[in-house]
């Protein structure tokens, strides 16, 4: 038993090192004004600075790509909620079969590669609705799909935790329309799920590279990739900030997930 626990901790330790060592290296590279070749244990505490980060902040490319990514993240979260919450609520109330179909569809983005998604998307809309290809906001539907495996599960957990049918019937019997019921009864009771889904959608958008790259949109991940050439320290500094922000979002999602389950 003691040996089993030791092995478990050993595995966890090795995995943690696998993630932590590159993070430490990345952080030192980004925030220490020391040439890479001279970084050593002896100068761990020397010449730390946040200047590379602020240098990036002053770049117009950074500002435009960060603004675009934030707007896309907000739009993705909103579209996800507007589409997913009513659809899944109706599936819960009316059709278990539809619920299974939605669940299956929601897992598909795990197995469909981003390149296939983009090729299909571009091929379909290049002629019929070219604005979706031209506009940066054309990324939003693709991001909604990409985030679906995470957002669907979160909303599903929230709805499953409620006695949805009774609440909806009670609201309807009191004279409320479907829209009012959705906004004032269902949404407040799955608010933790809604917040979690929004955080997850945000995180997906802030980290997505392939789709934006293939559709030639300058989102934050693309800026980071291209900025590495001309300002590597700044790009890594922004990258670390993004990792921290994403980690906070994931931690908040987990925390809210526990609230939902409770």
């Amino acid at each position: 038993m003691r040996l089993g626990r030791f092995i478990a901790w050993l595995v966890v330790g090795v995995v943690a090192l696998f993630y932590v060592v590159p993070m430490i290296a990345m952080t030192r590279f980004a925030f220490q004004r020391i040439p890479v070749i001279k970084l050593s244990l002896g100068n761990v505490f020397d010449k730390w600075t946040v200047a590379p980060l602020f240098e990036s902040f002053t770049e117009s490319e950074f500002r435009s790509s960060a603004t675009l990514s934030l707007m896309l993240a907000v739009a993705t979260a909103l579209l996800t909620l507007v589409l997913l919450v009513p659809t899944m609520a109706i599936a819960h109330l009316r059709s278990p079969r539809m619920r299974r179909l939605i669940e299956l569809s929601a897992t598909l983005p795990f197995v469909v590669p981003a390149i296939a998604l983009v090729v299909g998307f571009a091929g379909t809309f290049r002629e019929t609705l070219p604005i979706l290809i031209r506009s940066s906001f054309g990324l939003v539907p693709l991001y909604v799909v990409t985030a679906l495996p995470f957002t669907h599960r979160t909303i599903e957990n929230g709805l499953a935790a409620l006695d949805l049918r009774t609440l909806v019937n009670a609201s309807r019997s009191l004279g409320a329309s479907w829209t009012r019921t959705m906004i004032f009864v269902i949404a407040p009771n799955i608010r933790a799920s809604i917040a979690t889904a929004s955080f997850l959608a945000f995180t997906v958008v802030l980290g997505e590279f392939t789709i934006a790259s293939l559709l030639l949109k300058n989102t934050l991940p693309l800026y980071l990739a291209y900025a590495q050439g001309r300002n590597p320290q700044g790009a890594f500094a922004v990258g670390i900030v993004l990792i921290i922000v994403s980690t906070i979002f994931v931690a908040l999602s987990n925390r809210l997930g526990k609230v939902v389950r409770a």
Binding site: D163, T166, N169, A170, R172, L174, G175, P188
Partner: protein, 356 residues
Amino acid sequence: MTRNIVFSDISKSFGSVNALSHFSLSVDEGELVTLLGPSGCGKSTALRVAAGFEAADSGDVLIGGVSVIASPANKRGIGMVFQNYSLFPHLKISENVEFGMRVRKMSRTSRTARVGELLDLVRLAGVADRYPHQISGGQQQRVALARALAVEPRVLLLDEPLSALDATVRVEVRDEIRRIQRASGIATVFVTHDQDEALAISDRICVMTEGRIEQVGTPVVVYRAPATAFVARFVGKVNDLGVDVVSSTKLRLRGHRFAFEMKPGAAGAGAAGREAQMLIRPEDVRVAAAISTEDSENGIHGVVRTINFGGATTSIDVQVVGTDHFVRVADNTRTMNFQIGDAVIVEFDTERALLI
């Protein structure tokens, strides 16, 4: 406008299952009618059709004389209390009661006054600022009733509102519902599978099985003069004895020499030689210590097999000597003082028996 509800020839099926078959019932203003029956008999379906949560295959529902069958649930002017706790968890008690009034865009002053009145009515003024999870199940159902009444519904529908409560609270809330219903004078349809609840609370009971109405009548009529064997067996306890018809006034207990003497023309006696069932309530059977081994004219020898002490009443199960027949005898006179294994003689008030 009269505040009554009429179910007119409603039929509803789910796939091949007929949940309701030509269901017709009228509930007048101020009246409380209970739909009583076993699970799956269609009582909740009838209520859901009335509320607009299920679409009927055919028939009509009239509230205050106006057909509402095509109206959505939020336009029917009903108030409903559900089996499961249905208070909105994110709203305080006062906000829950206020919900329907907000939908109707009533002024804040009117809403506040009405919430106060209704919480007083259900005797829960002290919990206005609490959330549903901070009050008990019984209190939640009383708040749900206040919330349903807040919209001044034309009809009140109660779908097994007591079934989630424990026995003591159940009786309290039941009496509370009846008091409030009488005070408000609203036509009320109450659904339950609990016969005691139905007998205690109703002006009339509608006994249902397999989507059909078996009998509609006052609690006394349904209990004392059941129209069918199903009603006799479902409402209250009944002894169900196999008999052979000897003549129009004589029935022999199957497998036994004892014969019941019946009044001439006893309902359902039928032709001599046929097999029948005699249904008789435990309180229509008397038991006494056996003083002879001979069966008397209307009595039969047996042995006490079970004694069920129920507080206010005690019942005993007597096995008829030499047979597999068991007879349940109820007594609340505190005179029964038998032990298991005692030899007794059982007498039947055959005038109260139902023959099928």
